[in-house]
Amino acid sequence: MRQVYADNAATTAVSPSVLEAMLPYFSEYYGNPSSLHSYGQKTAAAMDEARATIAHCLGCRPGELYITSGGTEADNWAIASTARLSARKGKKHLITTKFEHHALLHTMEEMEKEGFTVTYLDVHEDGLIRLEELAEAIRPDTALVSIMYANNEIGTIQPIAEIGKLCREKEVYFHTDAVQAAGHLPINVEEQSIDMLSLSAHKFYGPKGVGVLYCRRTVPIYNLIYGGGQERGKRPGTENPAAIVGMAVALKEACEAMATDMPRVAALRDKLIAGLLAIPRSRLNGHPVKRLPGNANFAFEGIEGESLLLSLDLKGIAASSGSACTSGSLDPSHVLLAIGLTHEVAHGSLRLSLSHYNTEEDVDYILAETPAIVANLRSISPVWERLMNEKE
């Protein structure tokens, strides 16, 4: 049976060249980068080079990067640090959107408990914020605006440069969670007026457990954890040189290949979208064009997402769903509810996320298998029966 991995928004395979670049740093060059001897200096030099590579990809200075354990830590750190430091100046208002990743939303909830007021911007049916609504929401006491670059579920891409420009004009810090965007969409923190940015290596063919918080040199930041002098004392703990080198190689490869990979992946995505839209009572969630090259998010009325997901898995297709059953709560995805889907429809959602490893044969296979699975689940669904009766 054909195996198709179409859950690249969850995580990607480490690329062979990334793995190769990482391997020497486990048992050959294993010195602690903080050590002065040649063992340590070897890994310290490799990390410096990695840092320079990442900085080049983002358009910033190496000294503006802090290596973290991943996107979640970077998001937590950016929000909590900026909020608490701004509070000292009397700024206790934060702005974000309703459909951020939980790393963001749950940090915001903690800030609310600490006495901050948070404005959650609507993302409208197309999954995009409105700049005028952001402009209206900014107050004299607003400390930070945090808006994700591209959404992890429906893939919509926000107008980051315009948001950055607006925040700069209003003298408010701007953070973006670019976990889904890094390596897939162009990023330049200068041109896009980004003050802080989170990314995670495993979303662009790098290893898991490592990420970056970019923090502009003019933005103050304070420690979440305390220890030695690593990351200029801001994020202590012995570094993971293999992971950091792997992340740099992965980001460099992804950025260099972007111009050729992205149109190819987007073409596969568009074929997938067109094919799935041919299924009756299906809808594409998110913006038709302003979306990640690999992201196709669908809702199929009358069926439940987890059943669909597991049925696809039995055919060798790995996908994801925003149904409550896959989230471990009673409510379906907050992202799908934020763009106005009803609970019923949101339960029947399916996210397929392609990477540059996917082929046209993969898409053809998904399109060959999915309609029958949807039809089969609908044939035993009382909700579908009701929908069909209403139609008559």
Binding site: G302, A324, H343, I380, S381
Partner: protein, 143 residues
């Protein structure tokens, strides 16, 4: 969260599936808002459930619990079908993940709901206490 082989078997090959046009009792429990609806059809001959079928909107465990519940009551006297507990359904499936236990409750409720419908249609008295139906189930107490 992993499903047992038994759950996956009943999910991918559900038994007694489909609408029954000449059912003597039909029960429907759950709601689409929280992601599960089970509809159960029974045929009753001489106090025995001679045939049973179901339609379910829901996750794999909702489909599997409905499927195995139909197997467990088919050919059984009504009294025995009424004694079906969600615990028995879970055991028959070699267990369910904790977050999915409510699916087994729904299956038990669907059976009871179909029998109540049969009683109502035939003017048979029953002890309402015995039938704490889905409206009382916390799972669906949303809004």
């Amino acid at each position: 969260m992993a499903y047992s082989e038994k759950v996956m078997d009943h999910f991918s090959h559900p038994r007694n599936v489909g609408k029954m046009d000449d059912a003597d009792g039909i029960g429907e429990v759950g709601n689409a808002r929280c992601g599960d609806i089970m509809k159960m059809y029974i045929k009753v001959d001489d106090g025995v459930i001679s045939d049973v079928s179901f339609n379910t909107f829901g996750c794999a465990s909702a489909i599997a619990t409905s499927s195995i519940a139909t197997e467990m009551i088919k050919g059984k006297p009504i009294g025995e079908a009424l004694a079906l507990t969600n615990r028995a359904v879970v055991e028959a499936l070699d267990g369910l993940p904790p977050a999915k236990i409510h699916c087994s409750v729904l299956a038990e409720q669907a059976v009871k709901s179909a029998i109540v419908d049969y009683y109502n249609r035939n003017g048979i008295d029953y002890d309402k206490e015995e039938f704490a139906l889905c409206d009382d189930c916390e799972h669906c107490q949303l809004d």
